[in-house]
């Protein structure tokens, strides 16, 4: 039970939770108009991408 394994497991679970929630938030924001909503949607989308990258990192697909 190395520290690295604990970290990866937590990261994986966290990424699924956070990414999933963010995806729901993004879906709810989609119909909203206004510059702040549009910018928030783009940034949320990129953040979900970040969660995907973290999942790939936790699964040893990417990264060292």
């Amino acid at each position: 039970m190395t520290a690295a394994l604990v970290e990866r497991t937590l990261a994986l679970l966290g990424a699924v939770l956070v990414g999933g929630t963010a995806a729901v938030q993004l879906k709810n924001e989609l119909p909203v108009h206004g510059l702040d909503a549009h910018v928030a949607k783009v940034l949320l989308g990129l953040m979900i991408l970040g969660c995907v990258l973290a999942i790939l990192a936790a699964l040893h697909v990417l990264g060292g």
Partner: protein
């Protein structure tokens, strides 16, 4: 003299605010657009240093580079992945905070905002740990130079963000914002998401590539 021609200069402002106060709507629109442009300018700052990192990395004979005859180790992805989730989580909590404010649920707003601040502070602690356990130094190589400068700039932005969020917490609880006029909270949320997204790029560039 057609009114449509007269209105040609009035850019479409956010229709959510038309009922509130048309003067406020237009002022808010100007401030919001200005704020987004300022975030764009901040992007240029990070982009310039990312360019420097890309240049130095692609022109290096080996990566990680050699220092004193030994090749530097790659960065620890596991810890960084966890720390990234902490930061991304704070983005989600911030979104919930703003949503609750819009629906005038002050207690929930407070809770989510505090969660955001705590997670942001945890991220900074994580970065401090990362810095203390790094094998390379700021001065020793182009790896250290680009890593510590870029993540340092990012960390500074997170730090300013945490201060900003604390200020918003105080302001909101002093009654500065109403259910329909809360531009500071909107700006704070956008800034926090922006800081999140910069980290997505840095995480990929330094840990995953």
């Amino acid at each position: 003299m057609a009114v449509s021609a007269l209105n040609a200069t009035h850019e479409a402002v956010d229709a959510r605010y038309n009922d509130v106060d048309p003067v406020y709507a237009q002022t808010r629109d100007i401030r919001l657009t200005g704020f987004v442009l300022a975030l764009g300018a901040d992007c240029v700052l990070f982009s310039s240093f990312i360019f420097a990192y890309l240049y130095l990395r692609t022109s290096a004979p080996a990566w990680p580079p050699f220092v004193d005859g030994h090749q530097l180790p790659r960065l620890d992805t596991s810890f960084a992945a966890l720390n990234s989730i902490v930061l991304f989580g704070s983005g989600v909590t911030m979104h919930y905070a703003l949503e609750n404010w819009k629906h005038l649920k002050k207690a929930a707003f407070n809770g989510w905002l505090i969660a955001t601040i705590v997670l942001g502070a945890l991220f900074l602690l994580g970065q401090a740990h990362e810095y203390l356990s790094a094998a390379m130094t700021w001065q020793g190589s182009s790896f250290g130079a680009s890593f510590f400068t870029l993540t340092g700039m990012h960390g500074f932005h997170v730090f300013i963000g945490v201060i900003y969020l604390i200020t918003l917490f105080i302001q909101a609880n002093r009654g500065v914002y109403t259910g329909s006029k809360y531009f500071g909270l909107t700006a704070g949320t956008l800034y926090w998401h922006f800081v999140d997204v910069i980290w997505v790029f840095l995480f990929f560039l330094f840990y995953l590539w």
